[in-house]
Every structure is written in structure tokens, then in C-alpha cells.
């Protein structure tokens, strides 16, 4: 340990691999210890340290006379101009969109828990992770829609997985024109529970439930036949963020439902601060989420679409979106018998998480 520590210290300092784009890989836990070694505990604590004692300590340490100290303080204080501004005060009206645009970010700033056990300890790492929506290029040409999560270093990858909301989890599979009342029993999230993360050549699989399969096996086997470096496997629930070796600002992969792939970028890693949300229960914290337009019924344009029909003689276009009421009214008679030949699929609106 001692022999390798000098090279370790240098490895754990994140540096740019490509300037301003991403860093070289480093171990998160060691990064944290590196910072904690360099700082005094008082430097990163949450209390307001600026008191009279601090000045006295400063004077003693530097060996300067109290008069010099007073002079320093007098010079370095902030001068606040008392302006009479009420007369010329101009109130800018901000549009409602702008006003609430960053509301999500500021919602949890400075929150303290009621129970001190839930307080985020000093020196804890907070990571900001961007999870991008699956890339549908026709829809998302000019923006990169993403959700930004803040997580603590002591969380494990399963916490991240549970916090990612993707509508493909809510999709219901199957054709239900004959049995429209049975639809909600089959949510994909319950059926297909496997998922994996890919960070730096290691696949982290979710193995919590017995029906989870190791989805990364196919990729690993394929890679062995080609000219790729060997990939490793690990369990998602056993890995905390502290154990990860990642690059900051580099895209990684999260795959669930077999083929729904999200790009995951860790944008920022830092020590916790007084002004952050300090309540453990609120983490993983959603700071930014891209709003997707909800699609309404083709008939009434009022309610959100719940059914998608194809091959439908009643519908103006193929496929066509209906809300629950319009769907029943159009396709079924009063007794609930199916009218005409059509195929109906339950539809999950993409803006379900707004």
C-alpha cells in the first residue's frame, strides 16, 4: 500500500483526457479520500465558521499584531452601498415558462431533515448524472432531452436504476381489442426486470430478482470472438458509487427492457456543501427533467390518449389514438360487445412523467 501510494495519489486526481470534454478514468472513492486528506475537516463542514475566533486564530498563526488584523478586516470588508432604489425600481415580469423552468432545481436546495440520522454526512460525495432519453432522431433533433439526478456516493447502482423513469417500463404488451378491461395487468416493468449498466469495460447486472437474466452475456460472448478487450461482469446491487472507476463527462450505457438503451453521463462529482439538500431520504434527487408533450385523443383533443388502434374502419387515420371514453363509445356497444374488426393496443403517453 505504501509503495503504491505515490502513484495512486497521482492517478486519483482527475485530469482531462480531452480538454473540456471528459476526464481519464479514476476511482471515485479514492478521489474522495484524496480531497479529504488535503482539507482540514473544518473546511468542508456545514457550520458557518466565520466567527471572531477564526480571526484570533488567524492572528496567532501568522504572528501578526492585532492592530494589523483590525486594519486587514477594515480593508477587506464588503462595503454595502445604501442606495435609495425604491423610486427607480423596475420590476421585470418574467414569463411563466422561465419562472418555473428551473423550479425543479431550486426545490430542494438547503433542505434539512427532521431526523438528524438522515443528515448527509460531511465529506460525502454528490454526483450529478445525466440520463438521456432513448435517441429518437426525428423527434429530438435540436435538443438532448435528459433528466439530471443527484446521487450520494454511498448509494448503489440499483438506487440509480430505480430512480430512472422511462416510459418503456410502463408499456403494456399485447393486443387487447377483445378484452379491453384486462389491459392494466401486464406492465413491462414487472415482466422484464433485467437491466445493466456499462461503465469502463464492466457490465453491472441487476440480479435482485430470480427472473432477472444476465443481459450482458451476449455482448461479452460476442466481444470475445472479435478484437475487443475482455469485459468483466459485476452485480449492480453490490456496487456503490464509491467503488466505481469512471470518467467524468464520458457517455456510458444503461440498458433495460432488452433493448431500451439510455446514455448515462456523469457530469460532476463534488463534496457536499452546506447549501445542498442534506436530507438523505430525498436522494436520488431529480434536478432537471425534460418535458415531453403529451398526446391527446384524436377525437376530443381533451383527454390523454390511452388506446392505439390499427386496421380500424372507424378511425380517420392509421394508427389512431383514442382516450378511454371515446374508445369505448366508438368501438363497443352498451353491453360491451366489440363492433367491427380492429386491433387495439394500450398506449402509454410519453409525457407520463411530467
Amino acid at each position: 500500500m505504501a509503495a503504491g501510494s505515490s502513484s495512486n495519489v497521482n492517478e486519483n486526481i482527475p485530469v482531462f483526457e480531452y480538454k473540456d470534454i471528459n476526464t481519464k478514468p479514476f476511482h471515485v472513492g479514492s478521489f474522495r479520500t484524496a480531497w479529504l486528506e488535503k482539507l482540514k475537516p473544518i473546511d468542508y463542514s456545514y457550520e458557518d465558521k466565520y466567527e471572531e475566533n477564526e480571526d484570533a486564530d488567524f492572528a496567532k498563526e501568522m504572528g501578526i499584531a492585532p492592530e494589523t488584523l483590525d486594519e486587514l478586516k477594515a480593508i477587506c470588508r464588503q462595503r454595502k452601498k445604501k442606495q435609495d432604489y425604491k423610486g427607480t425600481l423596475r420590476i421585470d415580469k418574467i414569463s411563466r415558462v422561465d419562472h418555473y423552468q428551473d423550479e425543479l432545481e431550486s426545490l430542494a436546495v438547503g433542505k434539512r431533515p427532521e431526523d438528524p440520522v438522515d443528515l448527509v454526512p460531511e465529506g460525502e460525495i454528490i454526483l450529478s448524472i445525466n440520463v438521456l432519453y432513448p435517441a429518437i432522431f426525428e423527434r429530438f433533433r435540436y435538443v438532448r432531452p435528459h433528466m439530471t439526478l443527484q446521487m450520494l456516493g454511498s448509494h448503489s447502482l440499483v438506487d440509480l436504476r430505480d430512480a430512472i423513469c422511462c416510459i418503456s417500463d410502463l408499456q403494456v404488451f399485447g393486443e387487447f381489442s377483445n378484452t379491453p378491461d384486462m389491459a392494466p395487468d401486464f406492465i413491462s416493468k414487472d415482466h422484464f426486470k433485467s437491466a445493466f449498466f456499462y461503465f469502463e469495460g464492466v457490465f453491472y447486472n441487476d440480479m435482485r430478482h430470480p427472473e432477472c437474466q444476465d443481459m450482458s452475456e451476449t455482448t461479452i460472448d460476442w466481444a470475445k470472438t472479435r478484437d475487443f478487450p475482455t469485459f468483466h461482469k459485476a452485480k449492480m446491487e453490490d456496487t456503490r458509487f464509491y467503488d466505481l472507476k469512471v470518467k467524468v463527462g464520458y457517455p456510458y450505457l444503461f440498458c433495460h427492457q432488452g433493448d431500451c438503451e439510455h446514455v448515462v453521463i456523469i457530469t460532476d462529482i463534488r463534496l457536499a456543501h452546506k447549501d445542498d439538500c442534506l436530507d438523505r431520504k430525498l436522494y436520488p434527487l431529480l434536478t432537471h427533467k425534460h418535458r415531453v408533450m403529451t398526446r391527446k385523443c384524436a377525437v376530443c383533443h381533451v383527454y390523454i390518449g390511452r388506446w392505439l388502434t390499427t386496421n380500424d374502419p372507424f378511425a380517420p387515420n392509421d394508427p389512431c389514438l383514442f382516450c378511454e371514453r371515446c374508445f369505448r363509445m366508438l368501438h363497443y356497444d352498451k353491453k360491451g360487445n366489440k363492433l367491427g374488426q380492429f386491433l387495439a393496443y394500450p398506449y402509454v403517453d410519453p409525457g407520463a412523467f411530467n
Binding site: 471528459n22 476526464t23 488535503k38 477564526e54 477587506c76 423552468q101 463527462g249 457530469t267 462529482i269 463534488r270
Partner: protein, 352 residues
């Protein structure tokens, strides 16, 4: 509706403002906070945050100001500019209008540099810089991060690198880095070893493959270069050179001492006058600067540092259009030429 993000719009003007402020600070040839605040108030720099920004842009803008200002706090800038960058950060942090305050991000890789800077300030007794660093840390103004910016893998957008302002750059110490005392020591050791081996192998050690006095000659070369550099800058401070020659053995430490001592005299040469309430306790200049044995001189007033060779070449070859004061004769100016109608701003006010 605003066109373009805040970062793109405000980057160039901000950097121009910073360089103006730091340029003025550099001309005062001092590292005192009073000088800096005088310039700040003169320029009315707090008004950089005024102006109606769209709702959330204020936060983004404050973040941008702090990030840009932090660049001036790190090498390769000279010590004076780094102190100026520190004061700039302090001022911006306190005058910003975002609430809760946007923090200063310090990356782990820069921490060493900051510690070195702190030590330098402590050693040269620049207590105001030291006090301000401690105050910033104590006020929780600092976020300890992995990287100075949040990285979102925007490869398509060309990342804008911070262009180092040439006038603020520190004196290049490449020669000193190449030929340090350690290296000279090693060369001398190897030389001695070689001589001994030669003596033990041959009877007549008249064959000399290497130069006999290599370390001494390297040393004198370096000294000569340093003298030339000093002379070029200080326009011939003879005493300065004599002193440097006396301390011939420690090239590195003497250079450092000279730099520190020069900063010290520059800073303590122009003393802050005590305020009226403290007139009875005028600050006395401490002439007994021990440890360096530096011969005190009245600080010379230079107009500005001579531009480096790189800057001069740049100017000559990649010539930026020179801004001549074109006097317009209104009758002959083109009608579309609006500049003719504007009054030229007087650069120097009339001195009665």
C-alpha cells in the same frame, strides 16, 4: 427572446472586462487590496450583474463569471495577476445577485497550485491575500469538485479554451527549470565519479573526453541569462546584479528570494495611509527586511511591462488593424458612414 445561450453572448465581453481590470491592477505594481478595490469602485464593476436578464439566466451568468475569473488565479500568470484574480473572485462572489450564492469551484488538480500560492503569500507576508483566501474558505464559498466545469460531452460544439493573456504571463523560467540546482549537483557528482574512474583505470589522466569544468560553466551560463533577463526588465539595476552574483551557489533560491523581495518592496513601498481616525498611528515602513539582505530601492515607476518577444512577433506579423484616430472631415465623409458623426471620446482629460 434571447438569442443564444448566456455563455456564448457574455463570454467575450466578460473576458475583455476582466483583462481591463487586471491590466489596471498590473499597472499599479502592487498587490494591495486597497488598490484593487479602488480600481473596482472606479470601474463600477459590481454593475456587471445589473441589467435585466431573463428569469434563470442570472444564475448561469454568475456561474460563468466565477468560472472565467478562476482562470486568472492559476498559473501561468504572474504572481501579481494571480493575486488580482483572487481579489476578483472575492469581489464577484460577494456582489453577485443570485441567491443562494453561486459557489467557486475548485478542482482537485488545481489544489496543489493554490496551496503553493498560499505558501508564497504567507512567506512574503502578503497578509491581505492570505486573509482573503481563508475568509473565502471559511464562508463556504468553495465547492470541492473533480473538474472545474460540469462536463456534458458536447463534442460537436467547439470547446472554448481560455486564451492566456500574454501581458499577464509570468516571466518564462524555462532556463531555470532546465538547469536547476539539483541537476547541477548531479552533473557535478557524475563528473567526479567519472574522474575517479578514469584515474583508477589509466596511469596518465591527460585524456579528457568531457569538459573539466562543466557544472561551473553551466552555472555561469544560467547566471548570465538571468542577468540579461533582469537587465532587460529593470533597465539596469546594477546593485541587483551584484547581489545576485554574491549568492552564486543557490541559483534557484536566490531567484525566488529576488522575486519575493521585489514584490515586497513594490508592495510596501507605497504604503496605505491610515484613515483619519487613526492618524495618530501612521504606518511606519519596516526597513529591516531580514533574511534576504536585499538592498532596498525606491520602486521605479514603469509604465508597463515591455511586451514579450512572442507578443511583439504576433503584433508585427499577424497584425491586428491598428486603431488610428481617424479624423473625419464631415463634408467629405460618406453619408452611410455613421462613425463620422460620432464624437470621439477624449482619452485623456484635460489637466488644469
Amino acid at each position: 427572446m434571447p438569442n443564444g445561450k448566456a455563455k456564448d453572448r457574455f463570454l467575450k465581453p466578460l473576458v475583455a472586462d476582466y483583462e481591463e481590470l487586471l491590466g489596471r491592477f498590473q499597472q499599479t505594481e502592487s498587490v494591495r487590496f486597497e488598490e484593487f478595490t479602488a480600481i473596482w469602485r472606479n470601474m463600477g464593476f459590481s454593475s456587471v450583474f445589473y441589467g435585466s436578464l431573463a428569469g434563470n439566466e442570472m444564475r448561469e451568468f454568475c456561474h460563468l463569471t466565477l468560472t472565467m475569473a478562476f482562470n486568472y488565479f492559476l498559473p501561468p500568470y504572474s504572481f501579481q495577476i494571480r493575486v488580482g484574480g483572487l481579489y476578483l473572485l472575492y469581489g464577484l462572489y460577494h456582489t453577485q445577485l443570485a441567491s443562494p450564492k453561486e459557489k467557486i469551484r475548485i478542482a482537485l488538480k488545481d489544489w496543489e497550485q493554490i496551496q503553493k500560492f498560499y505558501q508564497d503569500s504567507v512567506n512574503s507576508q502578503h497578509y491581505d491575500a492570505v486573509y482573503i483566501i481563508r475568509k473565502l474558505i471559511a464562508e463556504n464559498a468553495v465547492l470541492y469538485t473533480a473538474m472545474p466545469q460540469m462536463l456534458t460531452f458536447r463534442v460537436k460544439k467547439k470547446p472554448q479554451h481560455h486564451k492566456v493573456c500574454e501581458e499577464f504571463r509570468d516571466r518564462p523560467e524555462r532556463v531555470k527549470d532546465l538547469i536547476s540546482t539539483d541537476m547541477l549537483q548531479e552533473v557535478a557528482n557524475i563528473q567526479g565519479h567519472h574522474e575517479r574512474l578514469k584515474a583508477s583505470v589509466l596511469e596518465r589522466s591527460s585524456i579528457a573526453v568531457t569538459q573539466q569544468d562543466l557544472p561551473a560553466r553551466l552555472h555561469s551560463c544560467v547566471l548570465e541569462f538571468l542577468h540579461w533577463q533582469d537587465r532587460h526588465e529593470n533597465h539596469g539595476d546594477a546593485d541587483h546584479l551584484v547581489y545576485a552574483e554574491e549568492k552564486a551557489q543557490q541559483v534557484e533560491s536566490s531567484n525566488r528570494a529576488q522575486l519575493l523581495a521585489s514584490i515586497k518592496t513594490k508592495s510596501y513601498g507605497c504604503l496605505a495611509e491610515a484613515s483619519r481616525s487613526r492618524r495618530h498611528r501612521q504606518v511606519e515602513m519596516d526597513t529591516s527586511i531580514s533574511g534576504t539582505g536585499y538592498i532596498k530601492q525606491a520602486p521605479k515607476y514603469h509604465k508597463s511591462r515591455a511586451p514579450s518577444l512572442k507578443a511583439r512577433t504576433n503584433k508585427n506579423l499577424c497584425g491586428e488593424g491598428d486603431e488610428q484616430k481617424i479624423q473625419y472631415w464631415l463634408l467629405s465623409a460618406a453619408e452611410e458612414d455613421k462613425t463620422a458623426l460620432k464624437r470621439q471620446k477624449r482619452k485623456h482629460s484635460f489637466r488644469w
